[in-house]
């Protein structure tokens, strides 16, 4: 292990350090045959650890979802076969990526948020433990967009995740016993928790959902050991609540001023103005900043909240120790179409106009892909990465969108053909980045909407929403596309269209293979450079989770995906091809696969299925 994790692998070491802290011995495995080649990417903190673990949702702090493993590559991916599977026993949308540390895989289901640990030392992995937290069912009726869980974290020997009923919970990773449970909000008032906790230096960061429930959005830091809350920073309100102090230096002037996150709202409407924190968090250890986005403002009827509505539909950069805000930027000031800003912020260094810049790349619901200087918050590149018509461009001198006046919405009036719709050109389903191709791989929607918001009163525990939305395909007739994107120039390279929205996460690997899934249920391997479809396998349900890759104890590479349709992909529930629900974890590998006996009839059937799959495209 020491050999595979060289001193250059700062990130891998950090991940392992977090994991082993307080545990006496370091889990993990001995060096394996066929271990992954060291890539130059690992040195810059990009990608999952080279030892074949996958210790956090995106593989790394930078949120690249890049695996340095390359046994599966463009020349052999056509031979992939299903190696093993595991039913979660639950329906509803299964989001998130399985985590692997040591010889154990961890997954968590949608409500009722059951956790499973699977023993990977067996050729056909078996259940190590199951943990049932029994969250309050009242949460079911407070969640806007299915009862999903977006991911879980491993730190300090604990599996840490959020329950839909507003508790953050830590479970002993070895025994499956509850260690602590902290109530973060009152679910009866409307908020829920669905986001993936993110751990930096002994602190776990969690935020609330409920952009349609009149919440006031927040991010909180808890002590990993005890679950005690250390600080909480709101997205809206006076400087003291937003944690704005001397360190706050936003790039653009309209983001400055005393109590700007309260004064950009009429009266005290910021109290129910949302800016919920239900997406992803990333971390730059050198700048020591965490980055995350905030939801749409509430209510959807813009007439009730004149002003920029800061900091909703925004990205915020905070000091992880104090919570102090360093900079912020609103992608969609005074959003009136539900263009949340919660999508992942991918931290990479890119050459821009001949100069290497430390940037944050963000594919927003509003249809623009932003390349932002992550030290200052300056927007360097902002170009549409899909079909949109609400803004003609982003003005790089002011950082503000130039809004198409005909797309302005008014209470009790229909605004027709706004593109994208509320779920955006891309929702929370995370993109991937490959340091080998320098491209981003982005799952997208290709849709428009008719929109009619009603004036609405805040009633605790009920939606603060009342908006009728009719969604339809954008021109071209298809509803989804996986694209590859050059963030230095703001240009699309290639795309693969689909009849239904593409709502799964993406994985890029050092084998130059990109993995993703479709709502219909096809799990795919694509050539990262050409976009050529190499292999696909229809799974039992649709895919809205995120693929990851790991090495087993013998050093063999697997790609795993948690399938189970639902979530916001439910907007397609009435369309042809939308499959039945049901959560199953699938792992794929190249033959020969341990535990598969070629003389065995089951294995023969498996091989026949594989043969059919790779003649398809």
């Amino acid at each position: 292990m020491r050999k595979t994790i060289s001193t250059k692998h700062a990130l891998a070491l950090m991940a392992m350090a977090i994991w082993s802290c307080g545990r006496g011995s370091t889990p993990g495995r001995e060096a394996k045959n066929g271990s992954a080649p060291v890539t130059s990417a690992a040195a810059s903190g990009i990608g999952a650890p080279a030892d074949g673990t996958w210790p956090m949702q995106a593989g790394d702090y930078a949120n690249t979802r890049y695996s340095p493993l390359s046994q599966i590559n463009t020349s052999n991916a056509t031979q992939l076969q299903m190696a093993w599977s595991f039913s979660t026993g639950y329906t509803h949308g299964h989001e998130g990526a399985p985590l692997v540390v040591g010889t154990t895989m961890y997954i968590v289901t949608p409500f009722p948020n059951v956790a499973y640990a699977l023993d990977l030392t067996k050729s056909q992995p078996t259940l190590k433990w199951k943990f049932e937290p029994h969250p309050d069912p009242i949460a079911i009726g407070k969640a806007c967009c299915d009862i999903v869980n977006r991911g879980w974290a491993l730190a300090d020997g604990k599996l840490i995740y959020n329950l839909l009923d507003d508790h953050t919970i830590a479970v002993d990773a070895a025994s499956g016993k509850e260690v602590w449970r902290t109530e973060m909000a009152k679910v009866s008032d409307g908020p829920t928790m669905t986001m993936a906790p993110f751990v930096v230096n002994g602190k776990v960061f969690v935020g609330n959902s409920g952009g349609e429930m009149g919440v006031q959005g927040w991010l909180a830091a808890l002590d990993v050991g005890s679950g005690k809350e250390l600080w909480r920073a709101y997205s809206t309100g006076p400087d003291s609540m937003v944690k704005i102090g001397a360190n706050y230096r936003p790039f653009y002037s309209w983001l400055r001023g005393d109590n700007v996150a309260a004064k950009s709202w009429p009266g005290d409407t910021w109290k129910h103005g949302a800016g919920a924190v239900w997406g992803w968090i990333s971390y730059d250890p050198n700048l020591n900043l965490i980055y995350y986005g905030t939801s749409n403002p509430g209510p959807w009827n813009q007439d009730q909240r004149q002003g920029d509505n800061l900091f909703t539909s925004s990205v915020l950069a905070r000091d992880p120790n104090s919570g102090d805000l360093h900079w912020a930027y609103s992608f969609t000031p005074h959003d009136q179409w539900d263009y949340d800003g919660v999508n992942e912020d991918i931290l990479v260094d890119l050459p821009i106009n001949g100069q290497t810049r430390k940037v944050l790349v963000h594919f927003n619901r509003n249809g623009f892909a932003y390349t932002i200087d992550r030290a200052t918050g300056q927007v360097l590149v902002a170009q549409p990465f899909g079909y949109e018509n609400w803004a003609s461009r982003i003005d790089l001198t002011t950082g503000r969108p130039v809004v198409n006046p005909s797309m302005t919405t008014h209470p009790n009036e229909w605004t027709f053909n706004v593109c994208p719709p509320d779920i955006g050109v891309k929702d929370q389903q995370p993109a991937a980045y490959s340091p080998r191709t320098h491209l981003f791989y982005v799952p997208t929607q290709h849709m428009c909407m008719d929109y009619r918001a009603e004036p609405v009163s805040y009633i605790a525990g009920t939606p603060y929403w009342n908006t009728n939305v009719k969604r339809h395909p954008a021109p071209g007739g298809y509803r989804g596309e996986l694209i590859s994107w050059d963030a230095a120039t703001g240009k699309k390279v290639w795309g693969i269209t689909d009849q239904l929205p593409v709502y799964s996460g993406v994985l890029a690997t050092a084998g130059d293979v990109v993995f993703y899934g479709t709502v219909e249920g096809f799990f795919r391997a694509v050539d990262a450079r050409s976009g050529k479809l190499l292999w696909e396998q229809k799974l039992g349900s649709g895919i809205i989770g995120a693929p990851m890759s790991y090495l087993d104890a013998s050093g063999k590479q697997y790609v795993a995906i948690l399938a189970g349709v639902g979530g916001a992909a439910g907007v397609a529930a009435d369309l042809p091809g939308y499959p039945a629900e049901g959560g199953t974890l699938y792992a794929f590998a190249l033959p020969p696969i341990p535990g598969h006996n070629p003389n065995d009839s089951a294995a023969a059937a498996q091989s026949a299925t594989g043969a059919r799959a790779h003649t398809k495209p």
Binding site: C145, I459, Y464, V469, R471, H472, A568
Partner: protein, 178 residues
Amino acid sequence: MRSTMMPRPILMLTFLACACNEGKRRSAGTEAAAELPPAMVLAEVPLGDIAGPKEDILRGEIHNPYEGDKAAVTEGESYFHRMNCVACHGYGARGGMGPNLRDQAWRYGGTPVEIYKSIYEGRPKGMPAWGAMLPPETIWKLVAYINSLGGATAPGEVLADVEGWASQSPKGRRNDDH
């Protein structure tokens, strides 16, 4: 089950009685208010076939005082929007975060008085208890609106569509693709 449920209707009676008086004062002059069924009778109506006893006790005997009143249906629809019911149950009450109210599947019973009780008492998967916030007339008008959508069942009619109610669950933001 019965013993654990006993205290709740008693507690509820107090609220209902208060709410009734409150409602009468607010709607002084409307004849319908005078015809509201006695609180005691309402409280004893059991839950639907899934959640409560199977016997058809009393439910056939309680009618919506606004039955057949078109103005009440219109008013009920207005409350359906103003009280934010629409955001959970969907435009046209076709479902969303909360169940579809137009189909024949009723987890807690689909007769007018059972729907009244679900609104009044709230239900465990997120339905707030509106009895503390709305007078009985308003709740009956909401029932009249829901009834007008065609899914509710007639008093005395017993439905046990287990498959139907099992599938009544949040489906994400429903699609109106066309």
